[in-house]
Amino acid sequence: MVPPDSSVRIAFPRGRHPRIALPDGSSREIASLLRVDRAMRYGEFRWNDLPRAGPIWVRIDLAHQLISVFRGGDEIGTALVLFGADGKPTPTGVFPVLSKSKQHRSTQYDAEMPHALWLTRDGVAIHASQVRYGSATHGCIGVPPAFAQRLFDVISPRDLVAILPDHSAR
């Protein structure tokens, strides 16, 4: 087993793993989190995959504009995201990835949405987007393009994506 690099990730000692709650009532055990000592900028992301097997799952915290990709209990990637504005809010809950589209072009919005991970049948996806301050989406989750490509490569259909609600919703 590769020892975790303490400059990259914060490992919780065995037996004292915290559990974080998901919107469907379940909770997941966290073994380690990426070390980010300051607030990330828009479009910035961290990615540190571990050479071990484990189910991929994603936690999206709308209240903190955060996405966290986990492999088992270890966080392997995090970034700031865009999400839906007032008129078209992002749905919350636990969604399995329905399918993946490497190069999707939206016919509805006439825009490229590469590396799309479809969450709902009415078109909500995680896709690459220009993550900037003050931007929002029409309900999708927008992630930085390089992050979207890495996430696209590790995730597979039926992996779970948990979207936590935005408590500061107006």
């Binding site: 915290p18 607030a39 990330m40 504005a85 016919t107 408590h167 500061s168």
Partner: protein, 221 residues
Amino acid sequence: MANVPGRRRWKRKTETRIWSRRGAVALALAALLVPSYLGLPIHKLIAAAAELPDALSLFALRSPNGRAGGNLHTSKPRRMPQVAMEGPSRINSGPFVPEERVLAQVRMRSPALPALDTSAPDTGFVPDVVPTLELPVGEFAPFVGPPLGIGSGGIVPANFSFTDVIPPVFPSRPDVPLPPSPPPPSVVPVVPEPATWMTMMIGFFALGTALRRRNGVMRRA
């Protein structure tokens, strides 16, 4: 040789000497002093081992927290036809107000009505289009009146006479002009023409082709 009692006692004595209390104290001192000798701050190591950061607070630390309000914009507009569909008239005002009106085609016909062909009254058939005749005014005076039944395609009984129904309202004199008459109702045949049928069928084929092609594109996407 190996089972000599004295030799075994010496081994046990060595073990007890290593794990004596004095040895333990020396080991603990070494564990404390070696990191400080290498430059690692002991108190920070101890503090890091003692305090466990909360996972949720770690999440909050890396984020700018809630999204700022009031300055959101979406960069991807909808496609132009949908923008046109959701124009200001549909969004702002309550009831739907059309912006354009399509008027039905208005057909103009010359106000001079064709007169009845009264030369063959026995047939009782009123033709749709009657060629304009120069009536001998005065001779057939009772028939020149408000034209009723022209263009309706009705069939009049053979023994029907206009003089029984329509009184001569306007005495026909050369110096009195004829009154303006209302335009006749348009004639729509019940069975469409073959050209109309063909146009309609071509339209349905075009619709079906468009729908099939669109479904194929969406399936690929």
